[in-house]
Subunit: 427 residues, 2 copies
């Protein structure tokens, strides 16, 4: 059936329960997507500057064709043999350091992170996990403990194993070579070792997307990786948001940050919205996890999921989407920098490739966050047909993370609109 917006909202509460989040003061009802465009139920067109799940574009024909072809041919599980999963893992791991040679495919990044933490426990024999205090890695009982910003009220006492460090913040607390972050992690490692929990792993998004993508120079993770290895722990890089070329300069953000993770986690954009996630690690780490425990995931690595995921890799390559992210990202940051010269409220411009944005402040000297204004701008942009969001500890950073086929023309429409919205917001 077709509901009005108010009926949709009422039925969500009735059928899905309370506290189910939506975006915007007036949630949007999308009915169609194509490339970087979305259409609402009234036929209005929106430029999608936010959604990373449709990585190679909404309803990408190559991905849709792959799904339809395989779904109408065979969909089964990995207890039978199939070329699709092997072709995909071969191609995926072929883009990474030689040590990242073995994969477990799941349906979500949450499932993948849940495995990654157990891999760390299996290898180290310890349970202490460190993350930043402004991140998100998923929703299982174990993995949801990593989100200090949305602490679950239940979770079988798992909180005891988690420690948090201040999220990097290049604007307010510069740490240009990453040694400050490394020292904070090392202090938590000591604390875990001293209280008997022991240190198993540090989990980070290598480009710290949820934390507000601080302006960390290339190689910035090296000191913390050294601290983790020195303590005998595992470095888990959650590339759910940062991977598949998002940062423009590299296919994987850990390469940009100068490290090779022990365990790498993939999710959201992996199959353009078809539910696929995965863990990649060295075969010895996978073996430690699988030793004596037959992990099986019914839908994980099924032929349709692998066909969709393979089509994403092919599309990234044939459409040169990593280079596009780099080119358009550079243009976007120069447009944002120009806007900063005009609008006092823009305190900082950051990003790499197709993750970029600006931190809005009420005062450039005190750097006081303009959180309310940011919220108003996001909502006004939505009414002007531009979809993006905000993030960071103060919810004052514009989060712009469009599908990878985003063009210079798209970026210009985004910033022309933002210029106008900022001008009117200051009147």
């Amino acid at each position: 059936m077709t509901r009005t917006t108010s009926q949709l909202i009422a039925d969500r509460t009735r059928l899905m329960g309370p506290n189910v989040s939506t975006f915007y003061d007036e949630p949007v009802h999308f009915v169609k997507g194509e490339g970087v465009w979305l259409w609402d139920a009234d036929g209005r067109k929106y430029l999608d500057c936010y959604n990373n799940v449709p990585h190679v574009g909404h309803c990408n024909p190559r991905v849709v064709d792959a799904i339809c072809r395989q779904a109408s041919t065979l969909n089964t599980h990995t207890r039978y043999l199939h070329d699709g999963i092997l072709d995909y893992i071969e191609r995926l791991t072929g883009t990474m350091d030689a040590s990242l040679d073995t994969a477990i495919l799941t349906c979500t990044g949450s499932e993948a992170n849940d495995i990654a933490l157990r891999m760390a426990e299996a290898v180290t024999g310890k349970r202490g996990i460190i993350a930043t205090d402004a991140t998100y890695h998923g929703n299982t009982s174990l993995v949801s403990q990593l989100s200090k910003s949305n602490v679950p009220t239940v979770g079988f006492g798992l909180g005891q194993y988690f420690r948090f460090v201040d999220a990097p913040d290049s604007y307010r607390r510069p740490d240009p070579d990453g040694t400050g972050f490394a020292a904070k992690v090392a202090a938590q490692i000591d604390s875990l070792e001293q209280d008997g929990t022991g240190f198993a792993a540090l989990v980070v998004c290598p480009y710290f997307l949820n934390e507000g993508f601080p302006d960390n120079p290339d190689g910035w993770l090296k000191p913390v990786a050294d601290a983790v290895r020195k303590a005998g722990g595992m470095l888990i890089c959650d590339e759910v948001q940062s991977g598949f070329g998002r940062t423009g300069t590299h296919l994987w953000a850990h390469e940009k940050m100068g490290v090779v993770p022990d365990i790498m986690v993939l999710g959201k954009p992996m199959a353009n919205g078809h539910p696929v996630g995965g863990v990649v690690a060295n075969r010895d780490i996978v073996k430690a996890f699988r030793s004596g425990y037959r992990y099986f995931n019914t839908f994980g690595g099924n032929p349709v999921s692998c066909a969709a995921a393979m089509a994403v890799l092919e599309e990234i390559e044939t459409q040169n989407l990593v280079a596009n992210a780099n080119t358009v990202g550079d243009h976007a940051r120069s447009r944002l920098t120009a806007l900063a010269a005009k609008h006092e409220v823009i305190g900082d411009v950051r990003g790499s490739g197709l993750i970029f944005g600006a931190e809005l402040v009420t005062d450039r000297t005190t750097k006081a966050p303009a959180s309310d204004l940011t919220d108003r701008i996001i909502n006004e942009m939505r009414h002007r047909g531009i979809i993006h969001s905000k993030l960071g500890r103060h919810k004052n950073t514009l989060k712009i993370r469009p599908p990878m086929p985003f063009s210079i023309e798209n970026a210009d429409l985004l910033f022309d609109t933002l210029d106008d919205v900022l001008t009117k917001a200051n009147k």
Copy 2:
């Protein structure tokens, strides 16, 4: 690429790691599926008497069409409004008791069980979970603790919260009214309360499929449900295998067993192989879980998943698949009973609807399990083009659980072949 069977096996170990299970001594390489049929890479046709994930048949046209149509129109997440998820939850919960009125959609049954256990913790404030000693409910850190038959070697100490009771076994330990099972659960509840853990929930598949689908009469779960409620705990029915009409007499096996669960978990067949799972509960239970914790699942309840899941419900209804399961199941059990009169090795015939099978024994008096013979039969049947498996504590129960469009003619082919294989196995 197209690999030979030996190349597939070698590449699996290389790319997926060790201990990744396959079926059969000589794993099968399927390349095509349609209805109840599968084809291997050599063009050989197999009758699928095992796979429940393709619930309405391999590559069911209605489901494939729904996936292709929605995947080429829009695929996004629940932070925007969409009719698809609401239409689906409305229709799904409309098939259940009025108390089961609210749903959370996930990508897997594992994710759904992980939520269900946290719901029980949220409502009761306690953490003790009881399950049978021969079951399986999924693969997350928390949920994998429910599988005593495949105990994970790692899992963040979560094993402390789980207690096990003997799986029901109508053949070896008759308990015709379920009071014996209820007493065992009550004893574990007492133990949990006494050791300070407290009792949160009992998790059962209402038809005990992994345990070997004992011949429990209708209403059998009533005594244990009473024991659970008396102790203030939650009854979680995992209908991943038993639901969607599998047992033939009811759409949901808990109805057959005379109870209404507090929390119901769905998975595998829900969208015919497209990764969809879900939890259904009363809105107060959902509210307790969501209180203060914004559970969000990126892929959960996306428009494509909901379209696939809706097509499954439509297909079950329009093709009268529950009635078909009942009719064909009755025929299957009468054929199996006839085979038992001829083959001494068949010790017990069990099942309801399209989950049925026989327990094989070396001696009908001692009921000694014929586990090795069962394994040989499964493998011989596979070479004759019939796909099924075995289960139960002694791995001596033929597990026959075909796609729901399975016909009387299909059943006859299965049992004519089984008759021949049993005859030759005894020579």
